[in-house]
């Protein structure tokens, strides 16, 4: 579909250097000054975004490092370090033109060489997702200081979604080239191109970032700085928002049951957008290798036996949407019509179990299963307790198993489990974050977030392989629709919730949460009200 590409390219041209892509209010004269204080929990291990992409790292490092592109709430690519881009009609050549006058925080100029270094050397060495993206390239070259050309081996239509700051952060060649990236002493003082510079990190206490006066976007940023406070206790975090000691909470900072109470405070504003780049779905992961989990009727019965509306309303207090299938509604190619629905229906669930020959025994129990609880906070424990009760109603007796994070990830990776709660990010396109869970080539023992269930379906493999190679969007959509139909029929995992996270912002700040990367974004448009 060449037309959509052209639209993308020309839109980018229009946006270049202009303020069209910015929220309306940002065009007026803004107040300069002010320091935004935000919650940081847990504390990140380091701030070099190329080396570590866990959530708290992205939060802080997203102000320091940048990618070539940003994405709006509907996942349309926007200029960042690249001011415009074109895609050749055959879908194989991506040409990016870089912004003018961009400098690293140490004063060195940012050029196309840095992009080539990042995408051919640094990231493929240390960043698994970026390695997958740039392995698709036959060559990455810089014909001049402000142009970078990516030539692909095969068509990969979602290639433009590889340039998120966390997906492919631009790293300074003059600091890292020829060094051991992970052991470089400069990792303690991160150098990026972003609107805020690293100033100080007092471990266990806070991280301060200050305005980059040489930032490439004229007149930006408005804020003097951003300060992150490490607050490990959930009640203390809620209090900090309530008393105005901090201005921003996000993600899992505040317990779900506290969100509405805080949002009702006069000085606090609640946003539910800003996580479209990750759009995670939570599910019950099932190890197909053992009985009765290999039988799809058992998995379908679980889908019918769990009330997903109840989970959204009573466990997540309205944050999130019931999940209907493998592709999040916020991710590209979701098709609501293609998915097979599993309404909450105990009769149907029991009928399926009956059909399998699982008759109720003593105490009405048809089957006993084990389920690992997610070790990432209270809300997951409450969800597990609900699911245990719900499944008991159709005669499935669940024994919940607790692990800490290290133990959980080890057992999932080693296939040492029966069932487990899990949630996995989708990264905007099914080829980025959905395929990995279901394709049989990604069954790798010892590695978490692969096809740990051991699910194998040749047609599913083929469709996930072919869909991203389509330059015609209609063809790609047809393939993804077929995929959603097959997967929702076979239920490789029991989907529960499309997760939404709250962003709570003190009303004295404006334009903080403005794109699909939400609180992880650079904040170069944020300003005092």
């Amino acid at each position: 579909m060449a037309s959509r590409r052209q639209v993308l390219g020309s839109a980018a041209g229009l946006l270049a250097g202009a303020t069209l892509g910015l929220p309306r209010t940002a065009r007026a004269q803004q107040k300069r000054g002010g320091v935004l204080t935000a919650i940081l929990n847990p504390e990140p291990p380091l701030l070099v975004l190329g080396l570590n992409q866990q959530a708290p790292t992205q939060l802080v490092a997203g102000k320091i490092y940048q990618g070539l592109l940003r994405y709006d709430f509907d996942l349309k690519p926007l200029p960042s370090l690249a001011k415009s881009w074109t895609v050749s009609p055959d879908g194989l050549t991506y040409t990016f033109t870089l912004q003018d006058g961009v400098k690293w925080h140490d004063g060195a100029p940012f050029t196309a060489d840095d992009v080539v270094f990042s995408c051919t050397k640094f990231l493929p060495e240390v960043h698994p997702r970026a390695r997958a993206s740039f392995d698709r390239c036959e060559s990455i070259t810089a014909p001049n200081a402000s142009t970078v050309v990516f030539k692909l081996k095969d068509v990969f239509e979602p290639f433009l979604y590889a340039f998120l700051p966390a997906g492919a952060p631009m790293m300074p060649k003059h600091i890292y080239d020829g060094t051991d990236y992970r052991a470089n002493p400069k990792n303690a003082t991160p150098i990026g191109t972003g609107p805020f510079k690293f100033k100080e990190w007092v471990r266990g206490s806070h991280i301060t970032l200050v305005r980059n006066d040489d930032y490439w976007k004229p007149g930006r940023p408005f804020l003097d700085g951003v300060t992150y406070r490490v607050i490990p206790d959930a009640a203390a975090r809620a209090l900090a928002i309530e008393t105005g000691q901090v201005d921003l909470a996000q993600g899992n900072d505040v317990e779900a049951f506290d969100v509405q109470r805080l949002a009702a405070l006069p000085h606090v504003e609640l946003h539910k957008r800003g996580y479209e780049t990750v759009a995670p779905i939570s599910w019950i992961e099932i190890n197909h290798r053992t009985a009765p989990f290999g039988d799809k009727r058992f998995r379908q019965a679980m889908m019918h036996a769990i009330d997903r509306d109840f989970i959204v309303k009573n466990i997540f207090f309205g944050l999130g949407r019931p999940a209907s299938g493998p592709i999040n509604t916020a991710t590209r190619f979701h098709d609501a019509k293609a998915v097979k629905r599993y309404p909450y229906d105990l009769k149907k669930a029991e009928a399926l179990l009956e059909e399998m020959g699982l008759k109720p025994g003593a105490g009405g129990i048809r089957a006993r299963i084990k389920m690992m609880v997610l070790p990432y906070g209270e809300v997951w424990v409450r969800q597990a307790e609900y699911v245990k009760q719900a499944l008991r109603r159709v005669g499935i007796d669940v024994t919940l198993e607790s692990n800490d994070a290290g133990g959980w990830v080890k057992r999932i990776g080693d296939w040492d489990y029966e069932t487990s709660f899990d949630f996995v990010s989708q990264f905007m396109d099914p080829a980025m974050g959905v395929a990995r869970t279901y394709i049989s080539s990604n069954i790798r023992k010892g590695v978490p977030f692969t096809n740990t269930m051991g699910y194998v379906n040749k047609r599913v493999d083929e469709l996930f392989e072919q869909a991203p190679k389509q330059t015609d969007a209609a063809k790609a959509q047809a393939m993804y629709s077929e995929l959603q139909a097959i997967l929702t029929e076979e239920v490789p995992v029991v989907w529960l919730t499309e997760l939404e996270f709250p962003v709570l912002i003190n009303r004295k700040f404006r334009n903080v949460n403005i794109d699909a990367n939400g609180p992880n974004s650079e904040f170069d448009e944020a300003h005092l009200a």
Binding site: R131, A132, R182, T227, I231, Q245, A405
Partner: protein, 326 residues
């Protein structure tokens, strides 16, 4: 005095073996927990491939056989090198030294408060045993002793920070304030009040009860009766005869507690976001940062041994009848 030096030397030799035992035991124990730092990092990144996990293991030296890992670690210890944190890419010693002073400030303040107020209250109760004072102090001590610390902490926060707005709810200082010198010290002091009070109240109760019981026991002894028979003033009897002799169990307990000085209080440090070493250790367990955890254990055990030695020496000061035996 030669006896005293010999005693100390002997204790130090013993300490070396204790620390050696602690290292080997902990080295093996923490590796028994499922998962390793590479897997935890992979899990947090939400994406991983075999190369990523293998690279990290090689970088961390986790691909070597266990005995070689231990040997390498021991070699480091001999040159006072506690190694690098897998996660934070920082020397372990730097990480620990950055957190230790805050913990000592917090627990030191709490312990001083607890001993001074606790011993005074206990002495007061013992002197007026059976009186209204005694009942009030005993009840208060029991109440504070029984309260869960995190709950007490939250209640203090609700009262002094949310309702009255006098004190900050978390952290150790005001960031970006530009405070220096005395202003900075006062700022830290304001932040210190609630966490040290929460931590100290519990210990205060312990010392009050301990002092009261111990004093009542000593008050029945012959030399007290003799003192009274000689017609010494009551205040002098209470302070010099009873309290001083009753302090021995208090010193013993305080010596044991000094371990807290370095272990930190995970609970209080978490509730008040205090950047101490307790939280550092707790987080190191969760992410399997083996080197960091071992480093904290070693520093803590060295300091605990030192405190115990100090307590033994203090005995002879408090009670000259005790000799340094071996």
């Amino acid at each position: 005095m030669g006896g005293r030096l010999g005693f100390i030397a002997q204790r130090l030799v013993k300490a070396v073996f204790v620390i050696l035992g602690i290292i080997v035991l902990n080295f093996l124990l923490i590796r028994l927990a499922p998962g390793d730092p590479a897997l935890v990092l992979a899990g947090e990144a939400g994406a991983a491939d075999p190369k990523f996990v293998d690279d990290l293991r090689r970088e961390f030296g986790l691909d070597l056989p266990l005995w070689r890992q231990l040997l390498i670690y021991m070699q480091g210890i001999l040159s006072f090198d506690l190694g690098f944190s897998y996660r934070q890419k920082q020397p372990i010693l730097d990480l620990i030294l950055a957190r230790l002073p805050q913990t000592i400030l917090l627990t030191g303040t709490a312990l001083t408060f607890a001993i001074v107020v606790g011993v005074s209250l206990g002495a007061m109760a013992a002197r007026h045993v059976g009186s209204w004072w005694d009942s009030a102090i005993t009840t208060l001590a029991l109440l504070v002793y029984a309260m869960p610390q995190f709950w007490l902490g939250l209640m203090l926060v609700l009262l002094f920070s949310v309702q009255l707005g006098w004190l900050p709810t978390f952290g150790m200082n005001t960031i970006n304030s530009g405070f220096a010198g005395l202003e900075h010290a006062l700022d830290v002091g304001r932040h210190l009040i609630l966490p040290s009070l929460t931590l100290g109240l519990f210990f205060m109760a312990v010392y009050a009860r301990l002092t009261r019981a111990s004093m009542l026991e000593v008050a029945d002894l012959d030399f007290v009766r003799t003192g009274r028979a000689k017609g010494l003033p009551e205040g002098r009897i209470q302070r010099r005869y009873i309290l001083r002799n009753a302090l021995l169990p208090v010193v013993t307990y305080a010596g044991l507690q000094a371990g807290y000085l370095v272990g930190g209080s995970i609970l209080i440090e978490t509730v008040f976001a205090w950047p101490g070493i307790g939280r550092l250790a707790f987080e190191a367990v969760l992410v399997r940062d083996y080197n960091l955890l071992l480093g904290i254990f070693i520093v803590a055990s060295v300091l605990v041994i030192a405190f115990n030695l100090l307590t033994d020496i203090l005995y002879t000061v408090v009670d000259p009848r005790i000799e340094m035996g071996t």
